[in-house]
C-alpha cells in the first residue's frame, strides 16, 4: 500500500484548550460464539468476580489546627513495617510510633537513617519520605504526627510482611444514580486462607462533590460483610473499604463511574438488511431519557436450530448513538454481517442475550437486558454458510449514518499531512513523551497530552485526532496508551486500519487488566486535587468490563511487554499495594492481554523514572526492535 516513506517527523503536539466537534465513524464488530460463552474473552463479567486483594492500608487522618494528630495504628505480623506519611507538608512532618514493646517511641523524620528513611516519589503527586521500621512488635501502636499548622489531612500508607489481607468487591453491576451500589468484603489470614473474624468493616464513600460518608458494613455468618450506598450524583466515585481488627488494618480502594440512567434498553429488537451487501442493521429498542453521548453496546446473537434448540450465532458490539425512529421508538443500532447466521445454520426465533449498554467514559453499566426477542424482517433463511469466518464478517461494513460527533480538546497539529507514521504514545498522567526519540527513526509522530486523566475512550479519540492527520499509523505505546490504541483500533475506523507492517500496536507496561494502584493514587486526590484522580478504566473491575468488549481479533494485533523490579519493589509506596512481580504501577499478572502476543517480561526495569530500576521505556534494544517491526 505504501512503499514510500516520508521524512522523519518528530513533532510534539500541544493540547488546545477549546473543545472542537470531531466526526468519528464507529466500528461494529462481531466474534464467534466461543469468544462470548463462559470462559471466553467476551463473556459477560460481573465486578463481583473480580475482587481486590489488599495487604496494605491507607489510613486517612485529620490533623488539628496546629498540625497535630494522635491516634492508634493497628499493626499485625512481624518483620518490617513500611510506612509513608503523605500530606501537603511532604518532608516537613514528624511521625512518631511506639509499638508498646518498651523500646520507647521512634521518631521518624527524613534524617532517621536507622528506619531506612528514603525518598519516595508518588506518581504525579510528588516526593515524600518512606520508612522501613524493622523487627516491629505487632499490636496497637501509639502514633502521632507533627506537621506545620494548617496541613489539614494526611494519609498513612503502610504494609507489613503479614500475609493477611482484605478481599473486597463491588457486587452491583449497574452503577447509576439513585440505585443502591453494594460492596462485599472480608479479611483473610492469607490470600486463600480462612476469614479473620474479629474485624469490623466499613466503607468510606467519597462523592464527586468532595463529601466523605462512612457506612458500616454488616457481617453475615460466614464473616463476609456487605454494605451499600446510593449515589445522588453522576461522576467518578471512590469507595474505600476499611477492615479494622485489634491489631490489623487493611484498606482497599475502589474507583467506579456512576452515571445517570439516561437510556434504558427493553422491549425488543428489530433487524433489517441495511442495503450494504450482507449487512444486517439491528435496532435495539431503547428508551431515551436524555442520553446525548455515544454508548458501547454489546450483545449475544442467538437463533434456533432445526430441532428447536437455541444456537449461538455470534457476539456483536461497538459504539453507537441513540437514534430516534420514524415511529417514535428510539433504538440503539448495531450492524452485523448476516453471514454469521448462515454460518450458525440458525433460523428464527432469534434473540439477543446479555445486552449491555455502557457509558464509554467510565464503562459504567447504564442499562442491560438478559434476553430480548429479535425480529428479523429479512430473508435470512437463504444465507449460505460461508464455511469459515471471513475477515469481512468480523467488522461490519462501515455505515456513514452511524457516524457521530464528539467534542474533543483536539491536540494542536502542525505537520506534513498524509504520511505513513509510527505514533509514539505516553500513558496516564504522564509529563509528556517518555520515548527516547533517538531510538526511533523513519516517519514518527509524538502524542503529547501531559498531566491528563482520560478514560480509554477519551484517550483513544484524542489519539484518533492525531493519527488521522496521516494516511496510516502504527502505535508504540507506554502504559495506558496501549489500552487507548487498542480501544481506538477496536471501536473506531481510523488511520490504524491502513497501517502495514508486522506489528500494529506495541505496548510496554500497559495495565490491560487494571492496577490496584489506581484507587490508591486517586484517594490522594482529596489532598492534592484531582488532576490525576479517579480513572475507572484503570481500576481492576473497570478494566475487566472494558476487556469484555474487545474481541480476540483486535487483541491479536497487540504485542505487549512487561517488566518488573530486580528487588522487592520498584516504588516504595506502590509496593505497599501491588503484588510482585510488578513494575511500580502495573503488576505483571495484570499486564497480560489474553489473545494478544506476549513478548515477555524483563526483570530490572520499572515503570518510570525515579524508581528502583531504570525506566522500562529507555531500553534502547527493545525500542529499536519495536521501531523495526512497527506497522506504519
Amino acid at each position: 500500500m505504501h512503499r514510500l516513506l516520508v521524512l522523519a517527523l518528530a513533532l510534539m503536539c500541544a493540547i488546545a484548550t477549546d473543545a472542537a466537534p470531531v466526526v468519528v465513524t464507529p466500528k461494529h464488530r462481531a466474534a464467534p460464539p466461543e469468544e462470548m460463552l463462559l470462559g471466553g474473552p467476551l463473556a459477560p463479567v460481573s465486578p463481583a468476580d473480580i475482587p481486590l486483594w489488599s495487604r496494605g492500608a491507607m489510613l486517612r487522618v485529620e490533623l488539628d489546627a496546629d498540625g497535630r494528630w494522635d491516634g492508634v495504628l493497628p499493626v499485625d505480623g512481624g518483620g518490617d513495617l513500611r510506612i509513608v506519611p503523605v500530606s501537603q507538608a511532604r518532608d516537613d512532618l514528624v511521625l512518631t510510633l511506639d509499638d508498646g514493646s518498651g523500646r520507647g517511641p521512634v521518631r521518624l523524620t527524613p534524617a532517621t537513617e536507622s528506619a531506612g528513611a528514603q525518598t519516595v516519589e508518588i506518581q504525579a503527586i510528588g516526593f515524600f519520605t518512606g520508612y522501613d521500621v524493622r523487627a516491629h512488635q505487632p499490636g496497637r501502636w501509639q502514633a502521632s504526627i507533627n506537621a506545620p499548622a494548617g496541613t489539614g489531612v494526611a494519609y498513612l500508607a503502610f504494609a507489613t510482611e503479614s500475609p493477611a489481607g482484605l478481599l473486597s468487591a463491588r457486587v452491583t453491576d449497574r452503577t447509576v444514580v439513585g440505585r443502591p451500589i453494594e460492596f462485599r468484603a472480608s479479611a483473610h489470614e492469607s490470600r486463600n486462607g480462612p476469614v479473620v473474624r474479629d474485624v469490623l468493616l466499613e466503607m468510606i464513600v467519597s462523592t464527586p462533590d468532595g463529601r466523605r460518608v462512612t457506612i458500616p458494613m454488616t457481617a453475615n455468618d460466614g464473616g463476609v460483610s456487605s454494605g451499600f450506598f446510593t449515589a445522588d450524583k453522576a461522576g467518578e466515585q471512590s469507595v474505600q473499604i476499611v477492615a479494622r481488627g485489634r491489631s490489623l488494618l487493611r484498606t482497599a480502594q475502589h474507583t467506579l463511574g456512576v452515571v445517570a440512567e439516561d437510556v434504558i434498553v427493553g422491549g425488543g429488537a428489530l433487524a433489517k438488511m441495511s442495503g450494504q451487501g450482507p449487512t444486517l442493521r439491528i435496532d435495539i429498542g431503547a428508551l431515551d431519557r436524555g442520553r446525548v453521548e455515544h454508548c458501547r453496546v454489546t450483545a449475544q446473537l442467538w437463533g434456533t436450530d432445526g430441532r428447536g434448540n437455541a444456537v449461538p450465532i455470534c457476539w456483536i458490539g461497538g459504539m453507537t448513538m441513540l437514534q430516534a425512529g420514524a415511529d417514535g421508538e428510539d433504538s440503539l443500532p448495531l450492524d452485523v454481517d448476516a453471514r454469521w447466521i448462515g454460518r450458525a445454520g440458525a433460523s428464527g426465533p432469534f434473540e439477543l442475550r446479555h445486552v449491555e449498554v455502557r457509558c464509554p467514559r467510565s464503562l459504567a453499566l447504564l442499562s442491560g437486558s438478559d434476553a430480548m426477542p429479535l425480529r428479523i424482517d429479512a430473508d435470512v433463511a437463504g444465507i449460505a454458510n460461508p464455511g469459515r469466518i471471513l475477515e469481512e464478517m468480523r467488522v461490519a461494513r462501515r455505515s456513514e449514518d452511524l457516524r457521530f460527533v464528539v467534542d474533543l480538546d483536539v491536540p494542536g497539529i502542525d505537520r506534513v499531512a498524509g504520511g505513513h507514521n509510527l505514533l509514539l504514545v505516553h500513558g496516564y498522567c504522564a509529563d509528556g513523551n517518555p520515548w527516547p526519540l533517538g531510538n526511533f527513526f523513519g516517519a514518527i509522530e509524538v502524542f503529547s497530552d501531559p498531566e491528563a486523566n482520560r478514560s480509554h475512550d477519551q484517550f483513544a479519540l484524542l489519539l484518533n485526532a492525531l493519527a488521522d492527520t496521516t494516511k496510516s499509523s502504527g502505535v508504540v505505546a507506554h502504559s495506558q496508551g496501549g489500552c487507548a490504541a487498542l480501544h481506538l483500533y477496536t471501536y473506531y475506523f481510523s488511520a490504524m486500519d491502513w497501517a502495514e507492517g508486522p506489528r500494529l500496536i506495541q505496548s510496554l507496561g500497559t495495565p490491560y487488566q487494571g492496577t490496584p494502584l489506581a484507587g490508591n493514587l486517586a484517594a490522594l486526590g482529596d489532598i492534592f486535587g484531582s488532576g490525576c484522580g479517579e480513572n475507572a478504566d484503570l481500576s481492576v473491575d473497570g478494566a475487566a468490563a472494558w476487556l469484555s468488549g474487545i474481541p480476540n481479533d483486535a487483541r491479536s494485533r497487540v504485542y505487549f511487554w512487561t517488566t518488573s523490579a530486580s528487588g522487592a519493589w520498584c516504588n516504595f509506596f506502590s509496593g505497599l499495594f501491588l503484588t510482585n512481580p510488578e513494575d511500580g504501577v502495573v503488576e505483571v499478572a495484570r499486564g497480560q492481554l489474553p489473545g494478544a502476543n506476549n513478548m515477555g517480561n524483563t526483570v530490572g526495569q520499572c515503570h518510570t523514572l525515579g524508581m528502583s530500576n531504570p525506566p522500562q521505556y529507555q531500553d534502547a534494544s527493545r525500542n529499536s526492535e519495536m521501531n523495526a517491526n512497527a506497522a506504519r
Binding site: 500500500m1 505504501h2 512503499r3 514510500l4 516520508v6 465513524t25 450494504q276 451487501g277 475477515e391 469481512e392 467488522v395 461494513r397 462501515r398 456513514e400 457516524r403 506534513v416 499531512a417 498524509g418 504520511g419 505513513h420 488521522d468 492527520t469 496521516t470 494516511k471 496510516s472 475506523f493 481510523s494 488511520a495 486500519d497 491502513w498
Partner: protein
C-alpha cells in the same frame, strides 16, 4: 492543465459488429505515470471522425496501479460532457480515504457494487475489481456523437503515494446499423453488393463473403438482403 500533467493520445481502435447495434472498443495500454499531488494523467482515446451513429451506452475499463486509492479521482469526458467514475473513495470515514491498492475494473451503470462498498482494510489487491457502479452515471453521454476524443483523466490529490495507469478501454454501444452487408466497401448496401454475392455464390472466397465464414452461401445472401439500402 498543469505542467506536471501527463497525457497519452490514442487513435487506434477496433470496430466490432453486432446483430442489432455496434460496439466500438477503444483501448490504450501505454503505461502512464500519475503525478503525485493534485496533478492529473489523461488518456485520450480518439474515435475517428468517419465513425457514424450516436452513443447508446458506455462502459470504461480501468487498470491502475496505485498505493492509496483514496487519493484518486477518475473521470471520463467527451463532447462537453463528463462523468466521474470514482472520487476519493473513503473520504469521510478515513481522513485520507480508502487506503487500498490498485484498480482492475469496468465501470458500468449496470453494476450494483460501488467502489465505496469494495473498500475495506485488509481487503484484496486490486481492491476495486469486477464491475463497479460509477460515481456519476455514464448515461450522460447517451445521444451524443460517437466520434471525437474520449478523455479518461486520473487525478492524484495527495502526496506520498504514487501510481501508474496501465491501460484504459472504452466500449461504446451505438445506434449505427451494422454494415457487414457492404461487401464492396463503398459505404452502402446496394445492388453492387447483391451482384457480388450472387457472382461468388457457392465458392470458397472472400469476395462477397459477408459473414466471414469463408464461403459465399445463403447466409451471405440473407445478410445483404437484410441490410439492403443501408448507408454505412
Amino acid at each position: 492543465m498543469p505542467l506536471a500533467d501527463r497525457m497519452i493520445a490514442c487513435t487506434v481502435g477496433a470496430l466490432v459488429t453486432a446483430s442489432a447495434s455496434a460496439d466500438l472498443v477503444q483501448c490504450s495500454s501505454a503505461s502512464l505515470p500519475i503525478p503525485d499531488g493534485s496533478s492529473s494523467a489523461s488518456v485520450v482515446l480518439t474515435v475517428p471522425p468517419d465513425a457514424v451513429g450516436t452513443v447508446q451506452g458506455v462502459t470504461v475499463s480501468v487498470d491502475v496501479a496505485h498505493e492509496w486509492l483514496g487519493d484518486l479521482t477518475i473521470s471520463v469526458s467527451h463532447g462537453g460532457q463528463s462523468a466521474i467514475l470514482i472520487d476519493r473513495v473513503g473520504i469521510g470515514t478515513w481522513s485520507f480515504g480508502c487506503g487500498g491498492d490498485d484498480i482492475d475494473a469496468t465501470f458500468t451503470d449496470a453494476a450494483t457494487a460501488s467502489a465505496d462498498a469494495l473498500c475495506s482494510p485488509g481487503g484484496p489487491s486490486p481492491m476495486f475489481f469486477g464491475e463497479i457502479l460509477p460515481t456519476e452515471s455514464l448515461g450522460v453521454f447517451t445521444g451524443s456523437s460517437v466520434a471525437g476524443n474520449w478523455t479518461i483523466t486520473v487525478t492524484d490529490h495527495n502526496l506520498i503515494d504514487a501510481g501508474v495507469v496501465n491501460s484504459v478501454c472504452i466500449s461504446i454501444t451505438t445506434d449505427a446499423v451494422p454494415c457487414n452487408g457492404d461487401v464492396t466497401g463503398d459505404g452502402a448496401v446496394d445492388l453492387a453488393d447483391l451482384n457480388l454475392v450472387l457472382a461468388s455464390f457457392g465458392q470458397t472466397t472472400t469476395q462477397g463473403d459477408a459473414d466471414g465464414s469463408g464461403e459465399v452461401d445463403l447466409a451471405d445472401l440473407n445478410l445483404v438482403l437484410g441490410q439492403f439500402g443501408a448507408d454505412c
